[in-house]
């Protein structure tokens, strides 16, 4: 069902650098869980609408009124890596 190749692909989509030994274990885990989830295939959902929100709310808005922002210091203080008011990350190659 789910192969090691699938698991490696999913790991790269999830930006997780899985170690080789983890790939085998996770493949087994996911296979068992997916097997369990297979039971949903028995349910006839052909006439059923999906539920994204359990409570049928609509149109929750905010008025276009400016609220104070965080002070620059306070914003970048959440990071250990900043430079002159900006967050610093490893060079992004374009």
């Amino acid at each position: 069902m789910i192969t090691q190749k699938d698991v490696k692909y999913i790991a790269s989509l999830s930006r997780i650098n899985l170690k080789e030994q983890e790939v085998g274990r996770l493949t087994k885990n996911l296979e068992a869980i997916l097997h369990y989830i297979e039971k949903l295939k028995k349910v006839d959902v052909s006439q059923v609408q999906p539920t994204s929100h359990v409570f049928p709310l609509n149109n929750v808005f905010r008025e276009d009124v400016v609220q104070p922002s965080l002070h620059q210091d306070k914003a970048i203080k959440i990071s250990q890596n900043h430079h002159q008011g900006s967050f610093k990350v490893p060079k992004v190659i374009e």
Binding site: R15, N17, K19, L40, P50, S52, F55, L57, I78
Partner: protein, 481 residues
């Protein structure tokens, strides 16, 4: 009785009668906490700022010591969801519930242990190690709000807040012999609750008894303009619903819940609870929630899909852990993401992120995520149908009592199945609570679950209160076996 052993409503009475002070309450709880928690390990962090009782501080309406699960933000206070990846993160803002608590005068003690990002039912998946069940320290306290439930059971906190995505308040409440409430989805603001699964998460009270649960829900409930999914309906005074009478109430027992795998002691306790409520005038009938058997599978699709996206922000860019591998694998930035996330997340978090990513990925969305959302509709419809014929549904909270630490560590699926009775309420959005209804021969607590319609918390509290007033399980204290 020590001050720290009292429920809040008793402490409030003592305060009113001027027989104690806010400071005395705090000191009693805090010194007990520091002693007791060496063994229980309910807390992962104490507040960096202890409450000020100086003359300049305005008087507090509810000076009740409260523990917050480690996924509720307090400005300036580290919060990590018990994950390595959030280490050092200090939010520059309060959660809405935190603001409400501060306004009420509650005394925030610190953050309690949990399964990493609330992924689990035992609190074993914490970066900081497991919490122990106060009734038997070889056992888990349940999870994921295991630290909060254990803290209240061990009297290390009078109140606690947990969060419940698939039973994470109710199951540990049951395992620890305390009261745990998952309010209606939208009743309590999620702003400042670090998300696991946005369409399922709710914050709720964990307390020593039903009255305290009603008091605490009074404080935290309400519409919040910062949470688009919070519902703008008035908050009643839940303490007014505490009526010791069940006359005329119709309570449903779902036949699908009394199945194989339910511990006979649990079953016996529930049957006895039914008798207690019958004596107080409730009528019981068998009902059906036909899609119950699909709830766990549906939950694991929806919850993990949302989680995989909610946890994408933990990438080392802004806050928390950032790691760069020695060697270059792909590019500096991608290597940073992958190393940070590999080292920062524990095995269960990785499992769920992967499962969620898989069910959303191209080619699988219809078969998994979309199908899950459709079955969710059917599960919600089951409850709508059931509530046409009854005022509440009564079930066990968990199929067993607390299991031993390590017992299910290598079998994720069997761990998932321990949420079998609690998950449906999250999928349907309805309120549900657990309260103590007995003990096993081994002295482990058993929980009774009451589920009502959306925004019918008052009905839920009434039934719970009636049961509680006619039993004394809630009076049994840890250490008095």
């Amino acid at each position: 009785m020590n001050l720290f052993e009292h429920p809040a409503h008793e402490l409030l009475d003592l305060l009113k009668a001027q027989k104690t002070s806010a400071q005395a309450i705090f000191e009693s709880v805090f010194s007990h906490l520091k002693q007791s928690d060496k063994n229980i390990k309910a807390f992962v962090r104490l507040s960096h700022q202890l409450p000020d009782f100086g003359p300049a501080v305005p008087s507090r309406n509810y000076p009740i010591p409260i523990a917050l699960k480690d996924n509720i933000c307090v400005e300036g206070q580290e919060v990590t969801c018990c994950s390595h990846i959030l280490e050092g993160f200090k939010p520059p803002y309060d959660a809405t519930v935190t603001q409400k608590l501060k306004k009420s005068g509650a005394l925030i003690l610190g953050n309690t242990n949990m399964d990493e990002f609330a992924f689990g039912s035992s609190t074993e998946n914490s970066y900081y190690g497991p919490t122990r069940n106060p009734w038997d320290t070889a056992c888990v306290p349940g999870g994921s709000s295991g630290g909060s439930a254990a803290a209240v059971a061990a009297h290390e906190a009078v109140w606690a807040l947990g969060s419940d995505t698939g039973g994470s308040i109710r199951q540990p409440a049951a395992f620890c012999g305390v009261v745990g409430v998952k309010p209606t989805y939208g009743r309590v603001s999620r702003y400042g609750l670090i998300a696991f699964a946005s369409s399922l998460d709710q914050i709720g009270p964990i307390t020593k008894d039903v009255t305290d649960a009603a008091l605490l829900l009074n404080i935290i409930a309400g519409y919040d303009e910062r949470d688009s999914t919070s519902v703008n309906v008035p908050v009643p005074d839940y303490t007014k619903a505490l009526i010791n009478d069940a006359k005329g109430l119709k309570i449903g027992i779902p036949k699908e819940y009394f199945i194989e795998g339910m511990d006979p002691e649990v079953k016996q306790s529930i049957l006895e609870a039914i008798d207690v409520l019958k004596k107080k005038g409730a009528a019981f009938k068998e009902i059906s929630l036909p899609h119950t058997e699909y709830a766990v599978a549906t939950y694991y699709i929806i919850a993990t899909a949302e989680a995989s996206s909610n946890l994408a922000r933990y990438d080392g860019v802004q806050y928390g852990l950032r790691l760069q591998p020695q060697e270059t694998r792909k590019s500096a930035i991608v290597d940073m993401y992958e190393e940070t996330r590999d080292q920062g997340f524990g095995p269960e978090a990785k499992r769920r992120i992967m499962l969620g990513t898989y069910s959303l990925s191209s080619g699988y969305y219809d078969a998994y995520y979309l199908r899950g959302q459709k079955v969710r509709t059917l599960i919600k419809d089951d409850f709508d149908q059931a509530f046409k014929n009854c005022d509440a549904i009564l079930t066990p909270t968990a199929p067993t009592t607390a299991f031993r630490i390590g017992e299910k560590a290598n079998d994720p699926l069997s761990m998932y199945l321990s949420d079998i009775y609690t998950i449906s309420a999250n999928l349907a959005g309805v309120p549900a609570m657990s309260l103590p209804c007995g003990f096993s021969k081994n002295g482990l607590p058993i929980g009774l679950q009451i589920i009502t319609q959306s925004f019918a918390e008052e009905m839920m509290f009434r039934i719970a209160y009636t049961y509680e007033q006619n039993t004394d399980w809630h009076k049994r204290k840890v250490g008095q076996k």
